[in-house]
């Protein structure tokens, strides 16, 4: 006969061991010792994110984590933003990129006070996101005391960046109308994490089958609180509204 034991949900049963699921407090089938951990998987990342956040606050710098899929237009929007705001605000850019500095090169001379590139390929095979440790390294290369705003351009990816807090004040997402209406349901974490969703490439709407109304209701279902800014980084439409949100 096995021993009676209590599960976390309050049920109690008796069996020889063998099942793999559930909480078997203090009871193991291997003669080993069970230790409770109950630690958030991202706890270490979050500790560093809190430190980044403190460093930014001490320097009086607002930081925005800009995320999107590859090719949605983060860099083009950022270039426009720097042109608009560069003369009135001291903006630092932290460019996350898997292996190149192409995005940073594109932004060269656009109006940033300072720029640093964090290549994520130092990790295992090239990380698909920026984590708090990478951002800490990037921030240490920026003159925070001379900046008002830091834009963190994350790696183009709709899955991983949303999981990792980096110490930002807000997460913003660029989403292109070429991506399809159903994406909020496929990438709910990203769409839920974003305070603002810039619906980009709006100038292409006449040429697409994209149903904007349907996308907006899908977005609302996943994240009812998201602010939507319709924009075209190419023509400049909506960029004013984006800039006014960005500057807080």
């Amino acid at each position: 006969m096995g021993r009676v034991h209590l599960h976390a949900d309050g049920t109690e049963h008796r069996h020889e061991h063998g099942h793999e699921v559930g909480d078997h407090s203090g009871y193991t089938d291997t003669g080993s010792v069970r230790i409770d951990v109950l630690e958030n998987l991202l706890a270490e990342n979050d500790r560093v994110a809190d430190a980044n956040s403190l460093a930014l606050a001490n320097a009086g710098v607002r930081a925005v984590n800009l995320m999107s899929s590859p090719g949605a237009g983060k860099t083009t929007l950022l270039k426009r933003t720097l042109t608009e705001l560069g003369s009135t605000m001291r903006i630092g850019v932290l460019e996350g990129d898997i292996a190149t500095s192409l995005d940073a090169d594109e932004l060269e001379g656009a109006g940033a006070r300072a720029m640093t590139v964090v290549n994520t390929s130092a990790g295992f095979g090239g990380e698909c996101h920026l984590d708090a440790v990478m951002v800490r390294a990037g921030l240490s290369r920026l003159p925070l005391d001379d900046l008002d705003l830091v834009v963190i351009e994350n790696v183009g990816n709709l899955v991983c960046p949303a999981e990792f807090r980096v110490g930002e004040h807000a997460k913003a997402m660029v989403y292109a109308v070429t991506e399809g209406e159903e994406k909020p349901f496929k990438y709910p974490i990203m769409f839920r994490a974003a305070e603002v969703v810039v619906v980009n490439k709006i100038d292409l709407l006449p040429h697409l089958d994209f149903d904007l109304g349907s996308f907006l209701s899908n977005l609302k279902a996943v994240n009812p609180r998201a602010r939507v800014i319709q924009a075209s980084a190419r023509t400049g439409e909506g960029v004013d509204e984006w800039c006014s949100w960005l500057t807080g």
């Binding site: 080993s32 951990v37 109950l38 998987l41």
Partner: protein, 113 residues
Amino acid sequence: MVHELSLCDAILATAIKRADGRTATRVTVRVGHLRQVVPDALQFSWELLTDSSDLKGCELVIEQIPARVECRDCKAKTTLAMPILMCGACDSFEVDLLSGDELLVVSMEVTEA
């Protein structure tokens, strides 16, 4: 896939720290359905990463937690079939998440070295 690899890296770091030199034979993690984690990919990543670590051969147990919400309007508690935060009884969006966003290392089994 790389997503699960990153998460496994975090599991491994936590497990090595908590094992504190003892041999870990099993690590149990709890993952909510809203987390976009593919269990098979997590399992594969685990084997890949532990193989060259102190935790070689250590088993990973994944507890999957359904996403459940409680409606503020009709008070019903329902399980989500899709990642849409909506009441399954009355379709209201005024819901509080009860479970489904978990991402933690629950426990480990270790033997004294």
